[in-house]
Symmetry: C2
Subunit: 289 residues, 2 copies
């Protein structure tokens, strides 16, 4: 029996492009008005090629949007204390409006200590404890970029969340946990699943919205997707493989993100948007976040 595709693809690339265009216009406006372009500091520890590529890509997108970037490459031998010092210095530097610490930083770094050295008003990647609590309590602040991008996608496709069952698979500090909190703020009934969850399939089967955020290739099978559900695949494994078995999920979902071209581009769009918002706040062209 041949199954047919029913799902509409959620065009993250297209939506991200529109957000980046608006962001570029806002950046130009700020630069015109103040004589200062929004500036993102990127910090990279070590020589991991994938991390270096991510940072390069983010800086290239910044450049295209009229955001300057200042790159600080630190040796792999950098200590937590040294990294904290660097981030604290950037936090105090009035020429820097947003700070991105590319992670993972390596096993010898206390990543949480490093994140906490980023001033909340420059935390455009949404990684600090303050940003997490702000997301959780629907307070002003920056969102973690991937969860923020997911929420923008859901909004763009008019996905009704109030009262719906949302299942977040994954509980990392910057993806799963904040994604769940943002969904809860939109009145979804939110379930967090993870590596210790018993019978993941049974729980996913009840979900109106599934957010897969683990990084385990094809962990979620199409047969577990409730017909018509919204499937957001925020997993990333080598070879552009997501957490969801796309070929089978697409026959049952109502809406589904492609990998690539779904969540990925949204993450960078939100980073750029928040950098410009941070600059506007700090340069006094707009009220505080």
């Amino acid at each position: 029996m041949s199954e047919t595709r029913t799902a509409q693809l959620m065009d993250g690339s297209g939506l991200a492009q529109r957000i980046v265009e608006e962001t570029a216009a806002r950046a130009a406006e700020i630069t015109d008005r103040t004589g200062v372009a929004p500036c993102l500091a990127t910090v990279l520890v070590g020589e991991d090629p994938a991390s270096a590529t991510y940072v390069r890509m983010k800086r290239a997108r910044c450049a295209k949007a009229g955001i300057t970037s200042r790159h600080i490459g630190l040796p792999a031998t950098t200590t937590t204390a040294e990294l904290v010092d660097t981030l604290a210095e950037l936090s105090g530097d009035p020429d820097v409006h947003g700070i991105l610490l590319q992670h993972p930083c390596g096993p010898h770094i206390d990543e949480r200590a490093a994140f906490e050295a980023i001033a909340p008003e420059k935390d455009v990647d949404g990684v600090t404890m303050h940003s997490f609590a702000a997301m959780s309590f629907a307070r002003p602040g920056f969102v973690s970029c991937t969860p923020g991008g997911i929420m923008r996608l859901l909004e763009a496709y008019d996905v009704e969340l109030a009262g719906k069952r949302a299942v977040v698979v994954g509980r990392s500090a910057i993806l799963g946990k904040p994604a769940g909190m943002l969904l809860l703020a939109k009145d979804a009934t939110v379930t967090y699943c993870h590596s210790r969850t018993d019978d993941l399939s049974a729980i996913v089967r009840e979900a109106d919205v599934v957010v897969a955020a683990v990084g385990r290739p094809r962990l979620i099978l199409g047969e577990d997707i409730k017909p018509g559900a919204v499937v957001i695949d925020a997993g990333y494994s080598p070879g552009n493989v997501g957490d969801v078995d796309h070929d089978t999920a697409v026959t049952r979902a109502g809406l589904i993100t492609p990998v690539p071209g779904g969540v990925g581009p949204m993450t960078i769009a939100v980073l750029l948007e928040q950098t410009v918002r941070a600059a506007a706040n700090q340069l006094g062209t707009r009220h505080h976040v």
Copy 2:
């Protein structure tokens, strides 16, 4: 057909008493060693009789445990700015080790702004954004007292949480949300339900652990309790009525908290314990929280 009680009652009063006794011993030790007794500042805005009673009760428990308390009663007309100033002053006062802002403070107060004026190292009631994020990320810090008390009860009764389905009904900043995060940190699969949840009964029926934290009398019926489940009733309504219909729930649950004598005494025990821990940290008799 007459139903029989199957549930074991979870003795919050007894466990709280043991915690308070240990806390009193620790307080005496600190006082002996440093010449300074642990000190909790209690702040109350307005004249609400129930709030005044709560504060009086907490101060009486402090006194019995060898914790001094300093009470600041502010008029109902106090502004947010004035309240923030008072709390900031207490945060900077070396003679005060813990701060409790009795809430709700009244509709004219921005309660979040007030909470955030409490220094994290004195946030013994666990109400700041920092404390919430610390609970969420399993980092050192103070827990919200009621969720913290719930976790202690579950631990005392050897309730296995890893892989179990926990359902938290309620999503307040200091009860439902942190309770869910603490359960998630213990590897439970956590679902947040709330006023907008569709078919609450169906979700509760799947729960191995139910935490009811809404304050709606008998919202949860015994027929929805999975046989053998652990039921924590953290709701409180006038007349000692919980969120769970106790008489029917007791015939199905494996373990259940009574109201009163369940969660309530645990909340105060955790408050006292954390006050003494804060004092120990600040007086340098022990490493930081």
